[in-house]
């Protein structure tokens, strides 16, 4: 939806695809409103790249935006966009950048080659038991030397993901059996028995650096940091705050300003070295001791870009990172430098989701009967839920309902405004199942607003 709006702002034509399940949803309505029926194409599945290219050819599109999900991290998709007989512009980084930085192990190795701090442990899949034991024993030794009394290490399948094939080990005696188990699991399930061994980091804040680069890959700026520490059990972000820390307001046990400087500097240097050439996010974890470790690089625009946009000003003018992405991807230049970007105030982004936060964030099916909120100039709400009729939450996708961005001059104000918005929000629905109630995460979000940015 925001891509469509950004297109309108830049005076670009667009076409949009939808599936039978989604025919009623907000983005289809918006597309119809903004671009008319001819801008809409019905396809069989969002996950089938062939459908997208087929439509792109039929509509004679010149550029492709991969959205926020699935295809945005697939370098093959990006490569196909530019390598077809009728090439198009891929709105995102070049495919080799996605390939190199899209892989966690590779990212870790690139980071290490540039002396960017990463989580202690192996930086390549380990196959050999002797080697693995050596790494594990040095990890325990290392943690002891760092004063960590009961250090834990993580053993995970290098080909795995999404929490599959990961186990924690508390002492060296257990290590061998866990290593074997994970290796066998990996061989059975992923076909590759490579295993990663890393230190387990407890109690950390999840920070992100928003990087924006020109197509040439030589000019880069950043739009500050975000704190995304409030996540559901499935590591899904629920609240994001920009900037990442509030030094001076909240007492930190470490020098928060310095940490922010450090991670932005490291992110920028990596972007420079890897020739990064579009919008991307460097994800970091920061321990209570103020040590940052690079986790991964998101080679795509993220949903939470809006919260960075809202606190940023270029020469005093407001900015929209999404529009910048489109403009830069199509060959536009960065006419401003880092010094021209100033940050004012604090922004919070809430994700309103139909889920039961008490029951491990299980998604909730049903119909939305009413959705409304009080309008404020400090508030932006994006939703695919139509406001004038009922809406069935589509079963095939995550039950995200709306996204709200709240801005305040300082942390205190934004907290008040956030709470106010959540209080004023009207969201009613009925459950699809017979036995359960309809749940959303609004109460959870309210609770979390109280102590944001605190460690």
């Amino acid at each position: 939806m925001r891509v469509m709006r950004a297109c309108m702002r830049l005076d670009l034509d667009f076409v949009c695809v939808y599936t039978a399940e989604d025919a009623e949803s907000g983005h289809v309505r918006l597309a119809r409103e903004l671009g008319g029926d001819t801008s809409l194409y019905k396809i069989i599945s969002y996950l089938d790249a062939n459908e997208l290219f087929s439509v792109a050819d039929a509509a004679e599109a010149t550029a492709v935006h991969p959205g926020y999900g699935f295809f945005a991290e697939d370098f093959r998709f990006a490569r196909r966009v530019v390598r077809r007989d009728r090439p198009m512009v891929y709105i995102g980084p070049s495919w080799w950048v996605i390939r190199d930085l899209g892989d966690k192990i590779n990212t870790k190795r690139i980071a290490r080659s540039l002396n960017v701090p990463t989580v202690p442990g192996s930086d390549r899949p380990v196959y050999n038991e002797v080697e693995a034991e050596e790494i594990a024993s040095s990890l325990f030794e290392f943690q002891t030397s760092q004063g960590i009394v009961d250090g834990v290490i993580m053993v995970k399948a290098s080909a795995g993901g999404g929490g599959m094939g990961i186990e924690e080990v508390g002492n060296f005696d257990e290590f061998r059996s866990v290593f074997r188990r994970i290796r066998n699991y990996a061989k059975r399930n992923f076909g590759d028995e490579g295993v990663l061994i890393e230190q387990r980091i407890f109690d950390f804040n999840h920070l992100e650096v928003q990087v924006v680069s020109e197509r040439s890959g030589t000019k880069h700026v950043h739009f500050g940091t975000r704190n995304c520490s409030i996540q559901s059990t499935g590591k899904q972000k629920r609240v994001e705050i920009a900037p990442g820390f509030a030094p001076g307001v909240i007492p930190y046990t470490f020098d928060a300003t310095k940490v922010i400087e450090e991670i932005t500097e490291h992110s920028m240097s990596m972007a420079r070295e890897s020739g990064y050439d579009n919008v991307g996010t460097w994800e970091w974890i920061v321990t209570p001791k103020g040590e940052p470790f690079l986790m991964e690089v998101n080679t795509r625009i993220q949903v939470e870009n809006g919260v960075s946009s809202i606190i940023s000003r270029i020469n005093g003018e407001p900015v929209d990172i999404l529009s910048e992405q489109l403009r830069l991807a199509l060959g536009g230049k960065l006419e401003y430098s880092q010094e021209d970007i100033l940050f004012t105030g604090v922004g919070i982004e809430y994700r309103i989701v139909a889920e039961n936060t008490d029951k491990r964030f299980t998604p909730c099916a049903g119909r939305i009967t009413k959705l409304d909120w009080q309008k404020h100039e400090w508030l932006n709400v994006y939703t695919q839920v139509p406001l004038d009729c009922e809406y069935e939450i589509p079963m095939e996708y995550d039950p995200n309902l709306a996204l709200a961005i709240v801005w305040g001059r300082d942390l205190a104000e934004v907290k008040v405004r956030g709470a106010q918005f959540l209080d004023e929000l009207i969201l009613e629905g009925t459950s699809g199942g017979k036995s359960e109630n309809f749940y959303t995460n609004i109460r959870y979000l309210k609770e979390k607003t109280g102590n944001i940015l605190e460690f």
Partner: protein
């Protein structure tokens, strides 16, 4: 009454002649028919004496005409003779050639496979004053005496397994084996033990069977014939045929016919002629040792003279085979060799052989086949090069002997001792010195600096880039070679889309990144053999040998020169087989590749020779031997028996290699069928297949045609082959190299140098 019987007899003879000559009209036949009907018409008018005279004259005429017609027999007529219901069959031979016999494992249709007949038989004869009995094991296909259940002599896999069993019995009992080939071909079903795999097993065992084997060929139809035909002496009946494929089958392939349409008789006739299937052809090519002359127009059960001839020939051949390897070469041996025809019966020679004689027998047999089919290929290697190569071969053989056998064994022994000592020392150090060190550390805490430094090292190891020489990016590495197809912008559908709902694949992704494997269901699209050469076998670094051996058209098969040239031009190869030495992750190996694009990967004399030389080279160099079958359609039919004979030849080479302690490993890809699978590939103890490949004896079309059963489209799929026990594992193409390396480390014989 007598006259009537004689007339009846003549009628039968005329009918038989007509059957043999099929549609073809002939003056001789017309004349006979006319004369016969004349006599028949006048039968009742003539007085007895005159009639008898007339009949005698007519019989003479028949004799004369038959002899005359015999000279004009075409190859296809021979095929019709052999297939005629009146053709002699194994039961006739058992009854008329041997003096007594006991059939084993069958009473009519109560038999595991009535088309394979096993019997213990004896020759009883008087030599001088003594009456002697000599025992043999008789094995052969039976098509008559109960046609309804004999399956036309088409032996099922378990029939061949039974044959193999009794060959082993003969080996144990130290008696000769007489095999009789009366088969149009094997029955092409895959059920355990599998048509192809069982023939391969038979060949593998026959290759070193420690018993004299005498084979008699009447109807030698390709694979089915080979299952029992690998003999020390091969006798062929003059009216028999020995061929790579039935003339009808060749014609169907030649005419490009599919789905039940029949080839014209003219085409079949032509194919029969071109395939060189007659006894004379085979004798000329050196694939049989002797022709046994049959009566005019072929032997029938009432030709008792012929049976006597056969008996004499069998005794003679067995004597020859035995005398060749006996340590005591007496006058008898000379007499045997002199081949004075009729006195075979009068020479008595004990047919049991000593251990060393049996060894010589096997060795002689293996050499005999090694020397065959030299004329059917072209060796483009220059004389000098050949001499150099021969010298090198000798040197490397000597070298390997010294390095691995003589010195290697000593070194191994030394290594073992040192290893033991080292382990002992380690234990001592650990047990004794560590407590000591700990005490010292406690007393002298001064060396903490070392600890600190060590701490830094640990820290560096855990946070700095490991193996910087590999570069920062690990995932960027691509295949060493990708198919040119990966340059096309188009999509393809996975064949499993109906069952697995795979999305369409973009060709550059599929062939560039995924190595032609559907990422959602694992279906393997066919891939060029170059891919394997470069990505698995490191072809650029390898040492190719015998690249000058070239396929030719030994039979002068019509238009085949042209087709062969086209294949050579298209692929840049001289034959379908590439042989080279390479290292797979540091393990030196010898590899033979059969490439599907060159005439369907079919095996002829050149391919067989290259394969044999590769096996020999691997043996000399103490290297593992890998056969990668990119695809094979079978034996090259246009080479006729020159192709079929590669089945025993290559199998013998493989047998020699394995017996010498080597590791022989087969990897199948795409489609592998028929002869090669039924011999030198199927006999490997380690056969693996790339996923989505097909392995079998005969294609689905042939199965339907010969058996009348429609088989499922996935009848030959690798998974079915695996569950039937024909292959021993299925590999993913992307992991072929890794699996191959693992296989080299975990499998195989005792004589591999890297052990």
């Amino acid at each position: 009454m007598d006259a009537e019987r004689r007339i009846q007899n003549l009628n039968d003879r005329l009918k038989y002649i007509r059957d043999i000559f099929g549609q073809k009209e002939n003056d001789n036949i017309r004349l006979l028919a006319a004369k016969l009907s004349e006599v028949v018409a006048r039968e009742h008018d003539l007085p007895g004496g005159v009639l008898a005279e007339e009949l005698a004259r007519l019989e003479d005429l028949f004799d004369f005409s038959e002899r005359k017609l015999d000279l004009s027999l075409s190859p296809m007529d021979l095929v019709r003779i052999v297939r005629h219901p009146q053709r002699i069959c194994l039961k006739d031979i058992l009854e008329n050639v041997y003096d007594n016999y006991t059939e084993i494992g069958g009473r009519g249709e109560f038999n595991i496979d009535p088309s394979m007949l096993i019997a213990r038989a004896i020759f009883t004869r008087r030599v001088g004053e003594k009456v002697i009995n000599q025992m043999v094991m008789v094995i052969g296909q039976e098509k008559g005496h109960g046609e309804s259940y004999r399956n036309g002599g088409s032996v099922k896999p378990w029939g061949n397994a039974k044959a193999l069993h009794y060959m082993k019995v003969a080996e144990t009992e130290n008696i000769p084996v007489h095999t009789f080939v009366f088969t149009p071909g094997a029955y092409p079903i895959e059920d355990w033990p599998g048509a192809a795999q069982q023939i391969a097993r038979n060949l593998y065992e026959l290759a070193a069977l420690r018993a004299p084997v005498i084979s008699v060929f009447s109807e030698g139809g390709s694979g089915g014939a080979e299952a029992v035909g690998l003999g020390d002496r091969r006798i062929m009946l003059s009216h028999g045929y020995y061929s790579v494929i039935s003339p009808e089958g060749a014609a169907a392939i030649e005419g490009g016919l599919r789905g039940g349409t029949r080839a014209t008789p003219e085409l079949i006739e032509k194919c029969a002629t071109q395939l060189c299937i007659t006894a004379e052809d085979n004798l000329r090519n050196g694939y049989i040792d002797k022709i046994l002359q049959e009566p005019p127009l072929g032997a029938r059960p009432n030709h008792y003279d012929f049976f006597r001839e056969l008996r004499r020939e069998l005794i003679q051949a067995t004597n020859e085979a035995v005398s060749e390897v006996k340590s005591m070469k007496l006058y008898r041996a000379m007499a045997v060799r002199a081949r004075k025809s009729d006195d075979a019966e009068s020479i008595f020679m004990r047919w049991t052989l000593s251990k060393s004689a049996l060894k010589r027998l096997v060795d002689l047999r293996q050499r005999k086949y090694r020397a065959m089919s030299r004329h059917a290929r072209l060796d483009g290697t220059g004389v000098m090069k050949r001499a150099v190569a021969a010298t090198k071969e000798t040197i490397s053989a000597v070298h390997s002997y010294f390095r691995y056998d003589l010195l290697g064994r000593q070194k191994k022994r030394l290594d073992v001792i040192f290893e033991e000592l080292g382990a002992e020392a380690h234990l001592v150090r650990h047990k004794l010195l560590m407590p000591l060190k700990r005490t010292i550390d406690k007393i002298l805490p001064g060396n903490n600096g070392v600890e600190e430094k060590k701490g830094d090292a640990v820290r560096d190891k855990l946070t700095r880039l490991s193996c910087p020489e590999d570069g920062a990016c690990l995932v960027g590495s691509e295949w060493a070679w990708t198919s040119p197809r990966s340059q096309q912008d188009r999509t393809v559908s996975c064949p499993n889309v109906r069952t697995h709902h795979c999305p369409d694949l973009w060709v550059p992704d599929l062939f560039g990144d995924f190595a032609g494997v559907c990422p959602s269901c694992g279906h393997h699209f066919p891939m060029e053999y170059r891919w394997y050469l470069e990505n698995v076998f490191d072809y650029k670094e390898s040492k190719e040998f015998n690249s000058q051996i070239e396929s030719i058209n030994p039979l002068g098969y019509e238009q085949f020169d042209l087709k062969l040239d086209k294949a050579k031009e298209k692929t840049g190869l001289k034959s379908a087989c590439i042989t080279f030495e390479t290292a797979i992750d540091g393990v030196d190996t010898t590899v033979a590749v059969l490439c599907a694009p060159f005439r369907g990967g079919s095996v002829g004399a050149a391919e067989g020779e290259k394969f044999i030389r590769a096996a020999e080279r691997a043996g000399r160099k103490r290297q593992p031997f890998i056969a990668y079958v990119h695809g094979t359609a079978g034996i090259r039919i246009q080479e006729g028996v020159n192709g079929v004979i590669q089945m025993p030849r290559c199998t013998i080479a493989v047998r020699r290699y394995i017996d010498a302690g080597g590791l022989y490993l087969v990897l199948y890809d795409t489609n592998s069928y028929a002869g090669p699978v039924a011999s030198f590939l199927g006999c490997s103890p380690y056969q693996f297949a790339v996923q989505s490949s097909n392995i079998g004896f005969a294609g689905p079309g042939v199965i339907t045609e010969t058996t009348g059963i429609a088989v499922a489209p996935d009848y030959h799929s690798a998974y079915h082959a695996l569950s039937r026990g024909h292959i021993h594992g299925i590999w993913d193409r992307r992991e072929a190299k890794k699996n191959l390396h693992q296989a080299l480390l975990t499998m195989g014989g005792r004589n591999l140098y890297y052990r």
